[in-house]
Symmetry: C2
Subunit: 214 residues, 2 copies
């Protein structure tokens, strides 16, 4: 299989970190090809022939099956490499981890993405990813996204008050999304406040995992 | 268990349709409580004591466990009632259905929601759901959301050219999200074009399912 990847971008990093959590051997075996999104490599005829949506990450299996959407790619790896479990074991745990992951995504990662795509000069006319319609950047998205991100970081610190990790007492896919959201937020000069002690305790723990470098 | 629900709203409808697909008996057994979101019932102290995020649907299990996020609630029902399968059986199928569901959500349902929440008079100062920060409505979101929705409907018709259903040859959770997106789009006077024949063929099929009335 081949993972179309971009080393600096937050969404492909979610997949890499997820695979690295399965094991360093599995991660080392993963064939990756770098796609330069700011340079438009995801919108070339060559890449659109692989994935007409023009989004990265995209996983292509040996039989030619194309899987996109970071969390769907993670689901595939969870199914073929069940241990260590990152998406839940029981019905309740699966549901609670999925809910937590979605909250980290909808309230954190996407809010930060709205700020970034509507302010970064390299995306001046590409405020939406892939082959989505072209839009000029909008200050409304920057302002609302900034306020949402600040709200997200306050909620994150509150969530981590009584929990070691985002979805409970162990590391899961929800921690991956939240950890990568923190890194992505730095691109737009946002992040946890100095007094978000629970978040800083959690961050220090996650940073020690080998997967944090994937 | 109790499902906090709102009969007219698109997200709770996703959960109801999902449960109704499992069986009419399971659906009939589901205890539901109506929450009037436009009237602010999701933001009362009583409801916030149940779910501090103030979002509907929310499922409360008999042991008090609270599950929110429509797709996470669907995941719970998929796990406790595996048949008929709506989220995939093999690793590849699970990943492809999850990817399709997310595309219907990110490119369809959320684009329509952006138009609605930024234009409907009853949400004048609540352009984001639940306890998210308050924002004035923004014409930028209406314009971008409208263009995204039109792009979505063109892509939907294209997707259904070679497939009976959204994720392949059978009905799945991806069809539920797409079907409800079509209904929701009518609220803001958007929808498939008259010549989107593949979409109309698919719509006619889905409308015949008993779950379409759930």
């Amino acid at each position: 299989m081949i993972l179309y990847d971009m080393i600096k971008a937050p969404n492909p990093r979610r997949v890499r970190m997820f695979v690295a959590e399965k094991s360093s051997e599995i991660f080392a075996q993963l064939e990756r090809r770098e796609i330069d999104i700011p340079g438009g490599a995801n919108l070339t005829p060559q890449f659109l022939a692989i994935n007409p949506r023009g989004v990265v990450p995209t996983l292509v299996l040996d039989d030619g099956t194309v899987i996109d959407e970071s969390i769907a790619i993670c689901r595939y790896f969870e199914e073929i490499y069940p241990e260590p479990n990152l998406m839940g074991s029981t019905p309740v745990e699966k549901a609670l981890i999925e809910s937590a992951q979605r909250q980290m995504e909808l309230e954190g990662l996407y809010a930060i993405a709205a700020v970034f795509r509507n302010s970064a000069p390299q995306f001046a006319d590409r405020a939406l990813p892939g082959t989505s319609p072209s839009f000029a950047q909008s200050i409304d998205y920057v302002e609302r996204g900034t306020a949402q991100t600040q709200h997200y970081f306050a909620a994150l610190n509150q969530r981590l008050k009584d929990r070691s990790f985002i979805a409970g007492d162990r590391f899961t896919i929800a921690d991956i999304t939240a950890f990568i959201a923190v890194g992505f937020a730095r691109w737009v000069k946002l992040g946890p406040a100095p007094d978000h002690e629970n978040t800083h305790r959690w961050l220090a723990q996650v940073k020690q995992r080998p997967s944090a470098l994937a």
